[in-house]
């Protein structure tokens, strides 16, 4: 018998739906676990209600992690946006050099972040690393890159920037190439200068593209794990313990499952909130860009 037409779409999405449920189940299970004091040491867990969350929010460690996470995300996404747009603008001029280099733009992006972090870890090693070797002639030989709190955070951000700047640049370049030509021709006829054209035309019309990239980057860096795990493991001290690293340490290292998941649930809520805000502003900016180009 042929399926009823109204059922057809559901039949098609059924496998995906099942898979989705298969992923939602552990998520739901995780939420459920957070209501218990489930850990390796406590295989017969008791219901503790919202106690885990209360502990999370009253711990200094949580607020430290939250602060570090925000610093990391703002820093990484910020630098990547500025640098990425700059690289895109430079490549958009499509000089000979630019055309050659554009072919290898994606290289860092295709390297696993954890591998990238390993690479930089080897390069930033204080005594034998190549970075300090190259800096030595400038009188800056002994920088303790990942061994000071500030240095460790900046180094992690640098690796993130190294990996993900091409992401912003690629999307911004696609945006630049799809901008309508007529407003620029009109501006050129009117004798508008470079800066004016950039501020009044390029930037507003480019924003929607850049913002897609920024949303992706900001939300991804809120849940950074790989880079920090390989580069600093959260150290020195607690200086780079971002939320996912904290959750990892609690849940896997110390096997306090319930408590660790509580951290990720809080992080999940933060990411979700950030996404809602950013996506709304994307809509607003897209409308504005349409006005400029229209």
């Amino acid at each position: 018998m042929r399926p009823r037409p109204a059922l057809r779409p559901y039949l098609l999405v059924l496998p995906a739906l099942l898979l989705t449920c298969g992923i939602l189940y552990p998520f739901g299970l995780g939420l459920y676990y957070t209501l218990f004091d489930f850990s390796a040491a406590e295989p017969q867990p008791d219901l503790v209600g919202l106690e885990n969350y209360r502990t999370v929010f009253t711990q200094d460690a949580f607020w430290n992690s939250a602060w570090v996470t925000v610093l990391y995300a703002v820093g990484a996404a910020g630098v990547e946006t500025v640098l990425g747009v700059a690289v895109a603008l430079l490549l958009h001029r499509s000089s000979l050099v630019g055309r050659v280099l554009e072919k290898i733009l994606i290289l860092p992006l295709m390297i696993a972040p954890v591998i990238a972090a390993i690479m930089w870890k080897l390069m930033l090693q204080p005594s034998v690393g190549v970075v300090n070797h190259l800096l030595r002639p400038l009188g800056l030989g002994g920088v303790q890159w990942t061994d000071t709190p500030t240095g460790a955070l900046l180094s992690s951000i640098a690796v993130d920037v190294w990996v993900y700047t091409p992401f912003v640049a690629i999307l911004a370049l696609a945006g630049l190439r799809s901008l309508p030509a007529s407003p620029f021709e009109a501006a050129a006829v009117d004798g508008a200068g470079w800066w004016y054209t950039f501020r009044r035309l390029t930037l507003p019309m480019l924003w929607p593209y850049v913002l897609v990239a920024v949303i992706f980057r900001f939300m991804d860096s809120l849940k950074v794990f790989d880079i920090i795990y390989a580069l600093t493991e959260g150290g020195p001290g607690d200086s780079t313990v971002v939320l996912q690293i904290r959750a990892y340490l609690e849940a896997i290292r110390f096997q306090r499952y319930s408590f660790g998941i509580s951290y990720t649930v809080v992080l999940w809520a933060v990411v979700y909130l950030a996404a809602a805000v950013l996506v709304r502003s994307l809509g607003r900016i897209q409308r504005k860009a349409a006005e400029v180009s229209g």
Partner: protein, 294 residues
């Protein structure tokens, strides 16, 4: 009269030359800035190459001049030092291909349905899938860690392929939906009136026309699956462990083996890099989940 005209032409000529000179200087500066960025982007890879070619005894005593040797690659690919790197490599291949295959089988019909058929809950499903992309991985992994141990899925291919859907399925569904949406439904309607069933119309008309999209999304999903770190870190221990975790194991032990780490890192980035170069054209759409088309 003629003289004045000629003077005017000369003046314009000088002006143009001035603009060009300024333009040329700007061009050089722009190219210089680009080159600077690409040195930053490429140096780490070059340095890994250098490190990987160094003999062990010159590892810390030399920087740029040394006697190159392939010994590190022999060690890494020969599974010496007690690290079964080739098996990790094979594991990466198996779980990544498996994850992409499952995502395609499950995701293509879902993408097609949500692009073509208006049905209740379609947007909800799509956004649930999208939210996977931005969910902190540990929220799902920690419960899975507990669950997998009970179900015997810990450290297995099946377990890895399943959890990788978190990454590959949203990618496949979202990008393929945008490809299907670009296709006019009248082509399949024509096929229906030619006497084909809906299934035949999908396989004979819709699918061949989105083949480039399928190829691009498969490769991109493969790359993301391959580069993933946190899933195998937590959900495998040895049997199903992948290269990203494997590469890190060369850093362990009492004596840091930088040359081996560098060789392992480079070997592990070869597959994604090669694939990335083949899908350059489709990358923008893939990276932005179909939000930006180039």
């Amino acid at each position: 009269m003629k003289g004045r005209q000629a003077a005017g032409v000369r003046a314009r000529g000088r002006q143009a030359a001035g603009v060009r000179a300024r333009g040329r200087l700007g061009g050089w500066l722009a190219d210089a800035a680009l080159i600077l960025y690409f040195v930053f982007a490429l140096f780490p890879v070059a340095w890994m190459l250098i490190l990987s070619l160094k003999p062990a005894d010159q590892l810390f005593s030399t920087y740029f001049s040394f006697t190159p040797t392939l010994e590190s690659y022999r060690t890494v690919l020969g599974d010496r030092e007690g690290i079964p790197f080739t098996r990790f490599f094979g594991n990466s291949l198996v779980v990544s291909v498996g994850a992409v295959a499952l995502s395609l089988v499950v995701g293509l019909p879902a993408a097609y349905a949500s692009a073509r058929l208006r049905f209740k809950g379609s947007e909800n499903l799509m956004f649930t899938l999208l939210s996977f992309r931005f969910a902190p991985e540990l929220t799902v992994i920690v419960p899975l860690f507990v669950l997998y141990q009970k179900l015997g899925l810990f450290d297995t291919y099946v377990g890895m392929v399943w959890v990788l859907q978190l990454i590959t399925l949203p990618l496949v569904v979202w990008i393929m939906r945008s490809y299907f949406a670009d296709l006019t439904p009248e082509l399949e309607q024509a096929a229906l009136l030619d006497g084909y069933t809906r299934t035949q119309a999908f396989f004979k008309v819709a699918l061949p026309l989105v083949k480039p999209g399928v190829a691009a999304v498969s490769l991109l999903a493969f790359i993301f699956a391959w580069n993933n770190f946190v899933f195998p870190l937590i959900l495998t221990s040895n049997e199903a462990q992948t290269v990203t975790v494997g590469a890190l194991s060369f850093l362990g032990g009492d004596r840091p083996k930088y040359n081996l780490t560098a060789a392992a890192a480079l070997v592990s980035v070869v597959p994604p890099l090669l694939l990335a170069l083949t899908i350059q054209r489709y990358l923008v759409r893939g990276l932005s989940f179909g939000a930006v088309k180039s």
